[in-house]
Amino acid sequence: MQQTLSNLWHLALSTFIEGIRHKALWAIVCLAIVLTMANIFVAELFTWDLGKVSVEFGLSSVALTGLLLVFFLGMKILADDLERNRIYLLLSRPVAGWHYITGKFLGLALILALSTIILGLAAVLSMQYVLWQYPSFVPPNFSWLTYAMALACQWLALLVMLAVSFLCFSFASQPFVALLLAVSTYLVGQNMELLRRVVLENTHAGILTGQIKMVMALSWVFPNLSLFDKKLVAAYGFAFSGQEFLLLGLYCLSYSALLLFLSTLLFNRRELA
């Protein structure tokens, strides 16, 4: 048990340090800071609801940057291990396949957490400026707690996407193929809720008419990422219950754990082959 925890910790820490040292991370963070500062100027383009525009732009910057980190930095770190044969060095030690997958996942999750916190705080500064400049446009029920919860949801969605990337990486023959699969899953996941509702609520859903079972089955396979999207909730100060937040956390945890488990199975098979 101690050996397992030690392996996971060292793998997570080494991945985190590798990510921090990576130039791509800092390029993405610089882009995000520029985007966040642009928030001030973008909000000025509007006449009404400036607070909403500012909060939403800030959270969107976090989401976009997180996605870039998952798709490029995360995949790059995993691919580098294989291409530079570092993975054999690791697996020749008493490190199981699931240690490797989970340790890498935790390390990248830490990087995502760090970038979300940095970007979230940068967004808070720009938002605070806009809200201070235009107090009459602050939504009546706006709360920083809801904003923090929305930011956390953004991180949870990124974790789910990270787990998806691991699964794609585990069975794809090329990193590029894994990237394509992960991006496609992201696009499907963002629209899973829309698709589900179109089929359930619309009796004239074109080619989807009568395909309720298939769509419902797909909605259990693909991640329902739109559930984590709380940008408008934070921007307008809509109600966001602690219960929903907790359930989202559990959904993220269970779905990610399942994908990591499948990733490990595929990864072990891949190594054996």
Partner: protein, 301 residues
């Protein structure tokens, strides 16, 4: 020829080629845009737009509204004599209305969308009042904290559709929104009474006053308006009684006391005499109602 000179000439040639081709392309696009100002890029069904926007729906709505704002507006250009002239634009109003609807599909609560729609669509041209009302109703449903969408629906109902009674009811509905300004209830009661719905106006005013503190700003104005409406209601009922008894309408309100229908005329809190116009409508704020100009309603801000 030195290498540097050759490279410089090649650069100038390539840059000239690039500038000419790009400028021609821009001119072509400008000509096409003048023929009909429209943005077809966004012209997709709402669900398709939602699918394309993914988690950036709000940003897409923002961008769409900026696009509409950029298309609309007055263009002023300098003429040959050094003066200015206004360019007459031909807008694709149906396309613009669809853009507003699409923007609302992505973010149904966005204030910029319905305010911009109200600023352009119901006026002539294009006179798209029904479309504007739908946009405003969507906004009202999705902004339960905001009195403005309902207030603007009320304004449009009165100003464009000329239905004062219905407008009054809508104003009174808007007045129920938390933190709504007191003038909404006052205008609402005025219009509802004008539209023959005095009792409904009184009931709403009473329920609103029961939830307010007498210290609140606007309470006294609403209280006066309620008393004035109660006076109007007494007179309306007396008019009906008069007509029933004598088979004709009175020519003026004093006939009600002269012929014994009322002992005295009700008191007007505004210290003005009530007035009966040719159509049988009673006014509490227009003592010269038989010759006065029509009442105006405050436009949305």
């Amino acid at each position: 020829m030195p290498v540097l000179l050759r490279q410089g000439l090649l650069f100038i040639f390539l840059f000239g080629f690039y500038a000419a081709s790009y400028n021609t392309l821009l001119n072509l696009r400008a000509d096409q845009a003048t023929a009909s100002q429209r943005s077809v890029g966004w012209d997709l069904p709402p669900n398709a737009l939602k699918a394309l926007a993914g988690e950036f729906k709000g940003l897409a709505a923002d961008l769409m509204v900026l696009d509409i704002g950029a298309q609309l507006g007055t263009e002023v250009v300098r003429d040959a004599k050094g003066g200015y002239r206004i360019v007459t634009k031909h807008f694709d109003w149906d396309g613009i209305a669809r853009l507003f609807v699409s923007s609302q599909a992505l973010d149904p609560s966005f204030q910029q969308t319905f305010m911009l729609a109200e600023g352009w669509l119901p006026w002539e041209p294009p006179g798209m009042v029904a479309e504007t009302q739908e946009i405003l109703k969507t906004a009202a449903r999705n902004r339960p904290w905001d009195w403005q969408p309902t207030h603007i629906i009320g304004f449009n109902t009165y100003y464009f559709l000329n239905r004062p009674g219905e407008a009054g009811q809508i104003y009174l509905e808007a007045a129920k929104t938390p933190h709504a300004p007191p003038f909404l209830a006052i205008i609402g009661a005025r219009l509802a009474q004008k539209g023959g719905q005095t009792e409904a106006a009184i009931a709403v005013m009473k329920s609103m006053l029961s939830e307010k503190n007498s210290e609140e700003p606007g309470y006294a104005d609403m209280f006066d308006r309620l008393h004035a409406l109660e006076g109007v209601l007494v007179l309306e009922k007396a008019l009906q009684q008069y007509e029933k008894t004598f088979g004709q309408k009175p020519s003026e309100l004093v006939d009600l006391t002269n012929r014994g229908i009322l002992a005295t005329l009700p008191e007007n809190p505004y210290n003005l005499p009530y007035c009966l116009d040719e159509n049988g409508v009673i006014y509490f704020d227009r003592p010269q109602c038989r010759s006065a100009a029509p009442v105006s309603v405050q436009a949305p801000q």
